[in-house]
Amino acid sequence: MSAGETGSPSRRLFSGLAWISPWLVGFLVFLAFPLLLSFRYSLTDYSILESPLPIGLENYRQLLDDPTFWKVMWNTAVYAIFTVGLGTVLAILLASLLNRDIPGIGIFRTAIFVPTLVPLVAAAMVWMWLFNGELGLINAGLRPLFTVVNAALGTDFRGPAWLEEAAWNMPALVIMSLWMVGRAVVIYLAALQGVPQDMYEASAIDGMGRARRFWHVTLPMISPVILFNVIIAIIDAWQVFAVPYVMTRGIGGPEKAMYFYSHYLYDNAFLFGPRMGYACALAWVQLAIVLCLTGLTFWVSRRYVFYRS
């Protein structure tokens, strides 16, 4: 028995609480209390300058009739679906590609991981420059392609103004998010390495082809890691803020095509009025959405995730 396991339960409770007290205090002051405060304010009309005026569920009711709320909900949902969906598939494919022991593999792994280190504000700047309609590298790269196509078909295709044309904003942001998929790749790579070798050998003896082996052995074996990553990715995607905020100078882009949930919440809390009560209602709805999505992922995964013992 060590010092942490002896003594009466109340004594151990006391020392346990003493050790975790920094977290406990922080949890109460910087998380639980703000959450409760937020809920209280969400039931009021509160502009900071005057004291909060109780209005019951009015804020929540207003949300339903607020076209901007539905706009940011839609934008955020579309963004989350595409970044999480495409990001997960791409990350697993890249991890499988990187999962071999050939000379120089470290360089390739590093190349794919490095973009995730770039601070988001800097990344936003770099991609604004890449996406620039006239001078951007992406359209410059597409130009020869369009020249050939246009010559053949007599059309007049050209690279879009990614960030100025509302219709191209979402694809641009999703493309950029795929550039930062490296963290997930590292995690999937570690998971792939954890798949026992004998399972592959057994499947080879059973005469499984590569594709079937990937589908029936590899994917089930790494499915708990996929679940974890998908949850993280959903929570992250639902919070998206810095990149579209910087790219649109805090405006949300043409036709608000790059206006996302957290940005609208920020504007309500600190800009419009401010409308603190409304912002707090938005916050609670956001929390509910994130929790529901996480719960949903778990529920779906009960069928598909395979846990060893």
Binding site: A3, G182, V225
Partner: protein, 315 residues
Amino acid sequence: MTVQRPAQPRIPLWPRKRSAAETALPRWVAYTLLTVVSVVYILPLIWMLSTSFKPENQTQTNPPTWLPDPVSILPQQAYENYVGTVDEQGRTEIRGVWTDPVIDFPLYLRNTLIVAALSVTGMVISSAVVAFGFARIKWPGRGITFAVVLSTMMIPFPVIMAPLFLIFRSLDWIGTLLPLWVPAWFANGFNIFLLRQFYMSIPKELDEAATIDGCSQFGIFWRIILPLSKPALAVVALFHFMFVWNDFLGPLVFLTHQEDFTLALGLQLYQSQAGATPWNLLMAASTMVVAPVLLLFFLTQRTFVKGIATEGIKG
């Protein structure tokens, strides 16, 4: 008392093991694919660097060029973009990032480093202590409390930022750097989780032997757990530093004076001055924000990758 070093926890690190996947694609196909993908992922950063070395009029070339023309102007041009020149009265002669009078890069760097130092120190100390309470003390209610710790990781910052602002305002902290580093002294779910995992890989027998030798709980923590956990503490420090360096929304909400800005927020000023900043300076400033992080990564690559792998494996 001699402490035998326990086996390191088995975490794959840029793993070397041969796997069946190797036979999946012929080698030359794999090399071709890997090269193409790597180039695509690295190109944006090369382009950033390339633009930062050019004079402004050469950023407008079509088709794009990768080096300034003539190449011999590169060192001088780089100096002008990154540093700039000022006359004896301190007035700008050539606008460059480091000496820009409006967007005070050295000041923002200083602020960021202050916040980073205070906040990383606090995060490492508090998480190390709290994780001990979860890994090594057996107390009633520990399991459920740990579940609460883990669930706090799911709460998005935007959800609490408005009430947090009000709390900090009533403490008179708005307009100071305090909101950015004080909360770090109260640990966070992710780091507690990471350190607890690591502590649990240290054999319990060490604690027991030390207890027999008369060690208290704090003695075990201080003399056994902490010295053996240096690699994990390094991961916490590293990740938290990256978080501080990267954080944009926190400073945006809590900092009101431009002289308190951190780098992430300062960098954004270039962008918010609509169209006023030429691309070569924007890219030079971005490079100056990105470079320290990349340098840190290359110096600590092993620690880094191990940390990320841990985060996912036991999720």
